[in-house]
């Protein structure tokens, strides 16, 4: 197994491959497709869309944390790509360009929609609730803990765990070496593990405390 796929669990990779419409195999293919698209070939655009739309939509969903906004952002990203045809320019790293546009649009969206509303002002329907009913409590914590990471670390993990990009692909996208990306993902993963493990300890402590309280309470029937 390649070093750059170590941090990706086999089961996750298999699932994401199954879900993914098509996997990019070579960054050179993307560059060729992009050139052909700029030259006026619509089929090349369709191929690029097929390769990257779902994966970048998933990325946007995780960054903006809203499915509808993520779709809008992805749509705008493609519109900007199409607009390049009117004023062609050299794009050496097409997928990196796509990610850069998606990232900037996501961050713009977050900045525009940053509103701080006191929890007490919200009615009950807006209160935090479990997003995924099929996740266990610890899984929910693990997924939510991604937000506690720095943006750079979170981005690498999202691109790898959710979008299914390999580390060498991510390296090409963000302009770093595969080794650097692998190390970054490794650190991010370790940090995430620590956060989740700390929460786990807290949960255990709370539970054991509750059990102790229950165990110390005298039973009514034993009094005589």
């Amino acid at each position: 197994m390649s070093r750059y796929t170590l941090a990706v669990p086999i089961s996750v990779l298999a699932e994401s491959e199954r879900r993914s419409v098509s996997r990019s195999t070579d960054a050179g293919d993307d560059a060729a497709l992009f050139r052909r698209f700029l030259a006026g070939e619509d089929e090349a655009f369709h191929a690029l869309f097929k390769r990257h739309n779902e994966r970048l939509l998933v990325y946007c969903r995780k960054i903006v944390d809203d499915a509808g906004s993520a779709e809008d952002v992805t749509q705008e990203m493609w519109e900007r790509v199409i607009a390049l045809r009117a004023r062609p320019q050299e794009v050496r790293n097409p997928v990196g360009f796509l990610l850069m546009v998606a990232r900037n649009l996501c961050l713009d969206h977050l900045k525009k929609n940053r509103r701080l509303v006191p929890l007490s002002d919200l009615d009950e329907s807006h209160h935090l609730q479990q997003k995924h009913p099929d996740l266990t409590e610890l899984e929910e914590i693990a997924v939510a803990s991604l937000d506690a990471l720095s943006f750079e670390h979170r981005e690498v993990l999202v691109l790898n765990l959710y979008s299914g990009y390999r580390f060498d692909e991510i390296a090409a996208m963000i302009g770093k070496t595969p080794d650097a990306v692998w190390a970054m993902a490794s650190r991010a993963r370790a940090q995430l593990r620590k956060i989740v493990a700390r929460e786990l300890k807290e949960m255990n402590r709370t539970r054991s405390g509750a059990n102790n309280q229950r165990g110390n309470r005298p039973m009514e029937g034993n009094r005589s």
Partner: protein
């Protein structure tokens, strides 16, 4: 900072451990609460992200109608041929090449049109030669023939009129009007008696034979 526990976990999750190492690792995790919690956390990360990913609705495999309309708009109105042709000038290398070629052209043009570069007309005094030829082989020359030196740049002969009026210009710089000094020099020379700088130059012998001048030029 990656701890030893993290390294072990990465090897375990990445499937790098053999059977013995894996058993040893799991035994260690049973007795080490920190490692056990980290292992549980890692499993929660794997399963949680996988479930969340699978719960996401599938994205469309084809662009929507709005995108297709935009795509069609850019396809239908491609850049004009002129615009495509001009696009090459956006390249910095091409721009520099064109600028260099223009400068070179100007320099060459200045050199060609410069008065200094106008050809010096050859002046022949005395009886004009009836034949042409080089001075390299004087044995082939007829008497009465004169050939200028090889550096004159005008190795042409001029017909002699019957009266033997010389000098005559071998070229016609008056047409260009570019060498008034040369013209004055020629006129002055024509009014002078026939002279040859016998003592100048590299001492090549000059042979007078009646009215014929032969100049031997060393190779």
């Amino acid at each position: 900072m990656i701890s030893e526990h993290d390294r072990l976990l990465e090897r375990y999750i990445g499937g790098e451990m053999n059977g013995d190492e894996e058993r040893e690792f799991l035994t260690l995790a049973e007795h080490d609460p920190d490692l056990r919690d980290l292992l549980r956390a890692e499993r929660a990360i794997i399963s949680g992200t996988r479930k969340e990913r699978l719960a996401m609705p599938a994205a469309p495999a084809k662009p929507g109608s709005a995108l297709l309309a935009r795509l069609a708009a850019t396809s239908a109105a491609p850049e004009t041929t002129v615009a495509n042709g001009l696009a090459i000038f956006r390249n910095a290398t091409v721009r520099w090449a064109i600028a260099a070629a223009a400068v070179l052209g100007i320099i060459i043009g200045m050199f060609v049109l410069s008065p200094l570069s106008a050809p010096e007309p050859a002046v022949v005094n005395g009886p004009a030669p009836a034949d042409t030829g080089t001075t390299d082989d004087l044995s082939n020359q007829q008497p009465g023939a004169y050939s200028p030196g090889p550096d004159d740049g005008t190795a042409q002969s001029s017909p002699i009129d019957s009266a033997g009026n010389a000098p005559r210009l071998l070229t016609e710089p008056e047409q260009t009007g570019a060498a008034p000094q040369a013209r004055a020099r020629r006129q002055s020379a024509s009014s002078q008696p026939h002279t040859f700088p016998l003592d100048e130059g590299d001492g090549d012998p000059v042979i007078f034979d009646n009215d014929t001048v032969k100049v031997r030029i060393s190779p």
